[in-house]
Every structure is written in C-alpha cells, then in structure tokens.
C-alpha cells in the first residue's frame, strides 16, 4: 500500500507514524506542520524527516507563516495545492490525516 500522510501540526507524532506500515510512505506537511520542514530544535531537524524520503511541504502555508523555500530542509520538496492533488491521485492510494 502507498500511504500519503497529511501532517498539520507541529507536535511529536513519531509514535503514531511508527505504527503506520506502508510499501511507500509520504508526508505532506501543511498548516503548522510546515514547521517540521523548517525548524531545528537544539540544532536537529524534525525526526519525521528521517522516516521517509518522500517529503513535501505546501508552499502557501509556508508563505502564510513568513517562511520561504530557503527555510525548507533540502530533503523536502515544496509543492502547490495542484501538486498535492496530483500526489493524491498518482502517488498514494490511501490518505491519512494526523
């Protein structure tokens, strides 16, 4: 199963994520979840970024928070709403909201 997970808040969701089993796992950071892609605590990026290589962040939600592409971890791809729709239909057959 290919599972796309929308992460909408900046909190420790690692335990929940660890219980998700998928052949392909993707994280789409939206709303306050964009901080996973941009912030470092004690010099360390969010541990969620180590869980998969399929990482996306919504550009509009970055801009709303005064962030730009240059603030985003190099492992994360910046995407638009249209890109998110394509990911949903082309890359992930199941979707979850955390």
């Amino acid at each position: 199963m290919k599972l796309g997970v929308f992460i909408n808040d900046y909190k420790n969701t690692v335990e929940t994520v660890d219980r998700l089993k998928a052949d392909k796992l993707g994280f789409i950071f939206i709303q306050n979840g964009v901080f996973h892609a941009t912030l470092k605590e004690n010099g360390k990026p969010s541990s969620l970024l180590d869980r998969t290589t399929n990482l996306y962040v919504l550009s509009e939600d970055l801009a709303t928070r005064g962030l730009t592409n240059s603030d985003v971890d190099s492992r994360v791809k910046v995407v638009t709403y249209g890109d998110v729709v394509d990911l949903m239909f082309n890359d992930y057959e199941k979707l979850a909201w955390l």
């Binding site: 929308f6 909408n8 939206i30 709303q31 306050n32 509009e60 939600d61 638009t80 709403y81 249209g82 998110v84 729709v85 394509d86 949903m88 239909f89 057959e93 979707l95 909201w97």
Partner: protein
C-alpha cells in the same frame, strides 16, 4: 480523472483545516476531478448563506459558491446543522442536506478519500 471525497469534521469558519479543505477541493476540481465534500460538526457553519464579508476576516460563503459552480457536490450533516440553529432555508442554495450515509456512499464510490479530523 478520478473522484475525491473529503469529509471535514473541523472547527468554525476560519479554521485552518476547513480553509485547507476548501482550497484543496478547488484545486482538485480545477484539474477536472469529481469532488464530493462532506461538512460535519462545526464545519456546517460554512454552509450558511448571507455571511458578512468583513475586511481581513475569513469567510467561507464565497469559496463554497465557487465550488458549487464548478460542480463540486457539497453536503451538510443535517443533524450537525440543526444542532447549531441552522435551518435548511438558511443554507447556501445548492448545498445538499443529508445524514452520514451520504458521506459513506460517496466514500465507497470514490478513488481517493481524505477524512479530515477535528482540530
């Protein structure tokens, strides 16, 4: 093209999740996908007509009407709306009113489902 069904169980007008869901629905409809949109809980407030569009204040009526014009099917949880004092004549024309079975039926006939939980 596929069919996407979304259920929004989030907060009032101005909520981050509801705002996201409205924009995602528009993006999917713009790409030619069929979109079904279930409004539950406090999200039913977005379906009320005659919302005042205040400066710098988020409202949902305009994006909802745009979605309806694009052919998006939007349905309010009737019980949720009535519990919040919203009667059917108060709703934006074109919005459907039904019970949870509408959402379940749409889910079973969709290619993709995004169930957005509460905030």
């Amino acid at each position: 093209m596929g069919t996407l069904t979304m259920g929004c169980f989030s907060s009032l007008v101005g909520s981050k999740s509801l705002d996201f869901a409205l924009k995602l629905a528009k993006a999917a409809a713009d790409k030619g996908h069929k979109v079904n949109f279930w409004l539950s809980g406090n999200a039913t407030v977005v379906g009320k007509a005659h919302q005042k569009h205040l400066k710098d204040y988020s409202t949902g009526e305009k994006p909802v009407m745009e979605l309806l014009e694009k052919g998006v099917e939007i349905c309010e949880c009737e019980a949720c709306a009535l519990a919040r004092g919203i009667q059917k004549p108060d709703a934006i024309p074109g919005i459907q009113w039904n019970a949870m079975h509408w959402y379940l039926a749409k889910i079973y006939s969709s290619d993709r489902v995004l169930h957005i939980g509460g905030e």
